[in-house]
Symmetry: C2
Subunit: 303 residues, 2 copies
Amino acid sequence: MTYAVIGTGAIGGFYGARLAQAGHDVHFLLHSDYEYVASHGLQVLSCDGDFYLPHVKAYSDVHAMPRVDVVLVGLKSTNEHLLRTLLPPLLGEKTLVVLIQNGIGLEADVQSWFPGVALAAGLAFICSAKTEPGVIRHQCYGSINIGNFSCADQGLIDAVVQNFCDAGIEAHEVDYTEARWRKAVWNMPFNGMTVALRTQTDALLAHPSTRRLIYEQMMEVIGAANALGVTALDESFAHKMLQMTDDMVPYSPSMRLDYDFHRPMEIYYIYTRPIAEAHAAGFDMPRLAMLESELLFIEKGLR
Amino acid sequence: MTYAVIGTGAIGGFYGARLAQAGHDVHFLLHSDYEYVASHGLQVLSCDGDFYLPHVKAYSDVHAMPRVDVVLVGLKSTNEHLLRTLLPPLLGEKTLVVLIQNGIGLEADVQSWFPGVALAAGLAFICSAKTEPGVIRHQCYGSINIGNFSCADQGLIDAVVQNFCDAGIEAHEVDYTEARWRKAVWNMPFNGMTVALRTQTDALLAHPSTRRLIYEQMMEVIGAANALGVTALDESFAHKMLQMTDDMVPYSPSMRLDYDFHRPMEIYYIYTRPIAEAHAAGFDMPRLAMLESELLFIEKGLR
């Protein structure tokens, strides 16, 4: 199978490197560190064992890349509009595009731009960061769930899941809508709250008042998911997410890193869009809407 | 009439100085700037005209003060417990204690400590600050409303209102519960939000997302007031408060100043207590409860 990775960062870079390491034909689109990676390859410092790919197929221009079976999108969703020009050169008749991004509404938007393309969500459970050019630091976890959004070819979904597994990555197929909202239960409280209070996951859970708030925000996401027909989530999942986060190292989610490095924050797909979708289904999320307002205010100050 | 001022700061100091200027016998309890004021008096730099009281009756110990007709309490509510020891030496048979403080539940607590004492709320509408020892900077506004909590002697309430008016201060008697909640409509959103986002009133209202949030928080306070039987407040009052704040100079409320100067914030009486009273009446304030959580987290970081 041939793969393209758009957005060779902490997430796209890690999964693409694993697939390349396993022998797949992987084509990496790079931006800021293209020159470095073209010369020096990719290095992955992983909790599961470091590895180094001295020669990778690196590109700075999507028009030089081939059409592929599968595109993995690891782009920041603040750049989602770039897919309108980045995707076409990579798309064959049956290409599957997997959006390994955070948020709600991503696949619907990409589908509206490319009505015929086969789309899936990639839900990554991984702590990793690109710390310098060509170097990906994989700290913990690493599994990926694939949710089929619009791919008629079930065999292609199965093959991608199998490729991930063969490359040493825990991978499963999951229900699309449930998986996106399940991930939002963690993402919506922690991404924004670590920015709003300039802190990390552990401190938020150590203080009783913010721990209760995080739980209430998780329950807003679960309530929204329920209103949108996802019946598998209830308060036990919120308790499980709190417990899981208690067991993690003190962590700065991606939005906190974006804030720290003065990069645009993914407010639209992580907050604005799910809040709007829940509202359209008759469910309001007052605490998360307040957090969205605070983040928009903070982002304005950064610009 | 004889007056005592407990907490000779921006508020208590201003009103006490006006009453002394008008010829009343006013006894000032001071803490950090006692030595300075005892030697140099009080200076008021006022938008209505500066004035200077070279000799004021200044005290550092409440036991040296006489019993008075009226006690004006300008203490920060974070020190409310100090009233248990500060008040008794000042109380005669019929002394009225006026709590010129922000928040909900102050009179109920003081009444529980002094069941027989006559209490009133003083709702100050004033921008002022104590900028250096013995100097009060009165920037704008200046009126005070008196809400009778437990004073059986209506003549005493009338006399205090008259004394304020005669001293050049706009003063009215108002309904106690309505006045406390009416003031909370402004106080609850702006005090905390200027701390949470390290900003001032004008920036919060200039950004559409925080302007809407401030309005929604005001409506939570109005909803709570309605649930507690205050029928005079509705959304028109929220619009009026937004308009009034638009017309103000960019302003840092008292909680923002407390935060900036690393002083304890009045979270309990401005947030915790009204949120609890509303909850007991069946009304929840999710956005303001979230703001309370953020403030408690921020305060913990300051200590």
